[in-house]
């Protein structure tokens, strides 16, 4: 029966509660760990306790003999499995062979060495302890600057300088700019290693059906199709025999934008033992072996005229890569270079990156991926320049912004900024804060010896990743929209989400475009046997690229519906609106359900038209989008304890049009929490032996409810011309805007004591020492 309900209310732009939530709030959603299969075995992975060591021998006999153990595999057993892939390419890039289990050497603590498979997870863990490895421990290096020093231990013996690559980019007349400058400010700025800490750790269930030659991998990933292609290649399995399912995914933040050894390893194990096998990463394994983010040591120089006009920027990035390249590892700092001019007009830049191997887990994309590092750097440098010139930090920014009538604006790093009004969010944030009043209050507080700070960041970002020639794996996204014979609408997006609410926002757009009730729409994703090839959700691309692909698929379907409507109404003059096709002369109408039914029944077809009501669209974006915004943070510092308290946190973000402001707010809040985590608490600490000191949630401090300030979130809206939805993306904005605003605020508070810069995380101890040192 044709039952599509038509509707007239517009849903885009409304604060609609999410359609994915009922299963999540009732505990009935299915994450990888919730999958159970007949005959399922459990895998435990034996990992290196050393950051650098040779393996003299491995004895698995006791483990293999343990009751309940089905198999034990070591490096030589998986020699036929291809290496963990690196998808990034740079000139001269050194790519270490990254086998899924170590063979003769290990390169970081947590390096997988063997896998024990048993009937029960407890037995697997017991037996893993019985694997005996004779180690020849060698010297490790865990700090990228120490790794570059002569005489440092070589992470990979074949490359004693520990360099993976050098990268150089330059534009304009940088030497002239510095020669002509009235003032040059230099600063070393670190952006510490961070641990993404998705609440769901990684996990894989692999199920091999030998008779069908079919392998299914359930894996907690942001990129199921790319995992399919790459794991099929690793296993030497035909790609059409591999199905990858990202079921419910419990957060990613970039850490699941990857292909990991364990994904291929579980496929290998299931194919070997002929049973389904499950591996769930422990939190400790997650901290040790899932990619980390950041890991920059940056050397900045900024040149300016006396009036504050920025003339040029130099940047040298020392990127801690870790021991291997994961999927995008070496590409991440190149995003920092692209972002280094920030929102400013200067055309003179020089950037150098040196990618350094260390005996640590690889770094890769973590929320913002290269852009927070760059924004932190430029926003700190602009503040330092303002301080040097005794200018207000807002004034110096307003002076150097790309002006709103200069778009599209070609940047010094080869990008074309799409649209913007950079002064608007800054002015709005200052209005909301009562900026002048705050500065007056601050002057008063300083007279009384109090430490109060006001910090601003005005950030830009590169989102909607992106044009395929500028991305490692194709930057397009796909969507299929089907109107079923009964009129129900099924959307399949290639942008597999993991908490972003695409089942809701995509349904809002589809409901508006087709004029049908949102309850008639179902959004599917994450299963390569159901959904057409797609790229995934990362880089604030889900809606801006994936949503746009759906938009164009909808336009094609609308055109087809119109053809059927015209045929059925026997009229050339028809309008498709509000879920029906209306003859403009007679007023006669056919509903979408009636037209869909007719398209499948196919008693008659419009000229040159196929039966059915299905459209698939692969959208190639012509450009990135460039959201921007201003965050303003007011802090008070306790001189006696070094504690920082955040009095106001104002976030004004411009991410273009808002499809669902409730979801946008959630993205901003979560982004700010991760930015604040970096600014104040989070840091992955390796000791000189390459042991991860912050190996558990006790030592690695992620923000908890009582640590977070109230975030006053608002927006300016500058639609992008890059896509017809006018959306720019908001997944990373909060993180990118946050850390420089917080550090600028605290440096501002401590500036009467002569403090000019503080590296993150700004722990109370660090602040207390600065305060104490000043007296």
């Amino acid at each position: 029966m044709a039952t599509t309900t038509t509707k007239t209310e517009t849903l885009v732009g409304k604060r609609i509660r999410r359609r994915e939530d009922p299963r999540l709030i009732t505990g009935t959603a299915t994450y990888v760990e919730d999958i159970k299969m007949p005959g399922m075995h459990y895998a435990a992975i034996v990992r290196s306790p050393h950051a650098a060591a040779k393996i003299r021998s491995i004895d698995t006999s006791k483990a293999a003999a343990h009751p309940g153990v089905a198999a034990v595999f070591v490096g030589k057993d998986v020699a036929g499995v291809g290496p963990v892939p690196c998808g990034a390419s740079l000139p001269g890039l050194r790519v270490p062979h990254h086998s899924i289990l170590a063979t003769d050497r290990v390169y970081f603590v947590g390096h997988p060495v063997a896998v024990v498979v048993a009937t029960d997870r407890y037995i697997a863990a017991d037996a893993a302890d019985l694997v005996e490895i004779d180690w020849d421990v060698t010297q490790a290096v865990a700090d990228p600057e120490k790794a570059l020093a002569s005489g440092a231990p070589a992470v990979h013996p074949e490359w004693p300088d520990n360099k993976a690559f050098d990268f150089h980019q330059e534009h304009g007349e940088i030497d002239k700019a510095f020669a002509e400058a009235d003032v040059v400010v230099k600063q070393r700025i670190t952006s510490q290693r961070l641990i993404p800490t998705a609440m769901e750790t990684r996990g894989v269930v692999a199920e091999w059906r030998a008779a069908d030659r079919a392998l299914t991998l359930y894996t907690s990933t942001q990129i199921p199709h790319l995992v399919r292609t790459l794991v099929a290649m690793m296993l030497g399995l035909e790609e059409n025999r591999l199905r990858v399912v990202a079921p419910e995914v419990g957060g990613g933040f970039g850490s699941k934008l990857n292909v990991y050894a364990e994904e291929a390893l579980m496929g290998f194990v299931s194919m070997k033992i002929g049973k389904p096998v499950k591996w769930i990463e422990s939190r400790r394994e997650n901290f040790l072996t899932t990619i980390h983010g950041r890991g920059h040591v940056d050397y900045y120089e900024i040149a300016a005229k006396k009036d504050g006009t920025i003339l040029g920027i130099k940047l040298k990035i020392i990127q801690d890569l870790g021991a291997y390249h994961q999927l995008l590892t070496p590409a991440i700092p190149t995003l920092s270079v692209l972002m280094m001019p920030g929102l400013y007009r200067t055309q003179n830049i020089r950037a150098d990156i040196v990618g350094v191997f260390t005996n640590c887990v690889p770094t890769d994309a973590y929320r913002g991926a290269g852009r927070p590092e760059a924004t932190h750097g430029i926003e700190r440098m602009v503040d330092m320049l303002a301080a040097e010139l005794k200018m207000d930090p807002a004034e110096i920014r307003l002076k150097n912004f790309v002006h709103k009538d200069e778009f599209p604006f070609p940047t010094a790093t080869g990008l074309t900024y799409d649209s913007g009004d950079y002064a608007a969010p800054l002015k709005k944030a200052m209005d909301l804060a009562g900026y002048d009043k705050l500065r007056a209050e601050q002057a008063e507080a300083r007279k009384q010896g109090k430490l109060m700070g006001i910090g601003i960041s005005t950030y830009g970002e590169i989102c909607a990743l992106g044009p395929s020639p500028a991305t490692p794996a194709g930057g397009w996204e796909s969507a299929t929209v089907k109107i079923e014979p009964t009129g129900k609408v099924t959307v399949m997006t290639g942008a597999s989400p993991h908490g972003q609410g695409e089942e809701t926002t995509f349904a809002q757009v589809a409901a508006d475009e087709l004029g049908v009730d949102i309850d008639d729409i179902l959004v599917l994703h994450g299963d390569t046997s159901i959904v057409q090839y797609g790229i995934g959700t990362f880089g604030s691309r889900g809606t801006a690229v994936g949503g746009t692909a759906m938009y164009f698929a909808l336009q094609e379907l609308k055109a087809k519906l119109k053809k059927f409507g015209a045929m059925m109404l026997n009229s050339d003059d028809v309008t498709l609106a509000n879920g029906q096709c209306v003859c403009n002369k007679t007023g006669a109408a056919k509903s979408i359900a009636e037209m869909a039914a007719a398209s499948y029944r196919a008693m008659a077809l419009p000229p040159n038209t196929q039966p059915g009501m299905v459209s698939t669209y692969f959208w190639e974006p012509p450009n990135f989008t460039f959201p921007f915004g201003a965050h303003l943070v007011v802090t008070d510092i306790d001189k006696d304890t070094g504690a920082i308290s955040i009095r106001r946190y104002i976030a004004v973000d411009d991410c273009g049009n808002l499809l669902n402001p409730l979801i946008v707010d959630g993205q901003v809040h979560g982004g700010v929490a991760q930015g604040l985590g970096q600014a104040l608490w989070e840091q992955a600490v390796y000791d000189d032996n390459g042991q991860l000191v912050t190996g558990e949630l006790t030592d690695y401090v992620v923000p908890r409810a009582h640590m977070m300030p109230w975030i006053e979130s608002s927006h300016t809206i500058t639609p992008t011309p890059v896509n017809p939805l006018g959306v720019k993306g908001v997944g990373e904005a909060g993180t990118i805007g946050c850390s420089p605003a917080v550090v600028n605020s605290v440096v501002d508070a401590l500036s009467p004591l002569g403090v000019k810069h503080i590296d993150m995380p700004m722990t109370p101890e660090k602040i207390w020492n600065l305060v104490k040192g000043a007296h």
Binding site: T26, E248, D665, V668, H669, A673, I711
Partner: protein, 154 residues
């Protein structure tokens, strides 16, 4: 060891290994996969359940220690198909994104209101200290708890 306990209003009896964690018992023996394992060290709270009326972390308790207990998991919160007001509030206020922390977060939030029907923001945040959410920045969760408190008062 044989244990008998009441879970979400039903009696269960099983023979379990003494070392079996309560969360694994609930998830794998009873089949209630709402409580999630996020850290195995009682730091993240994703496994939070109610045991004899108190919110506890089921990853650091053995199933045998729960012998004879009354347990409520996220699956038992809705009654006769009607969502608990805290579930409604999390839904309405967008108090979740990836949803992994949500079952524990909702149980912990319920406990806050059980103890104090009218908490301040600060009391709510203090009550949520044992539960980590990496997605929301907690603001919408705080809003949800406030909305649920209001729904009770009404």
């Amino acid at each position: 060891m044989n244990i008998t306990l009441n879970i979400n209003g039903k009696t269960y009896s099983h023979d379990v290994e003494p070392r079996l964690l309560l969360v694994h018992y609930l998830r794998e023996v009873v089949g209630l996969t709402g409580p999630h394992v996020g850290c195995e060290t009682s730091l993240c709270g994703a496994c939070t359940i109610e045991l004899n009326g108190k919110a506890v972390k089921s990853c650091t308790m053995f199933a045998v220690q729960a012998n004879g207990a009354d347990i409520l998991t996220i699956e038992g919160l809705a009654e006769n198909g009607k969502l608990h007001k805290m579930q409604e509030a999390f839904w309405n206020e967008h108090g979740l994104q990836c949803g992994f922390c949500t079952p524990g977060m909702i149980i912990a939030s319920k406990q806050i209101l059980d103890r104090n029907p009218n908490p301040t923001d600060e009391e709510i945040r203090h009550g949520l200290e044992g539960n980590v959410c990496r997605c929301t920045g907690y603001q919408h969760i705080v809003n949800a708890v406030k909305a649920a408190a209001k729904a009770t008062g009404a």
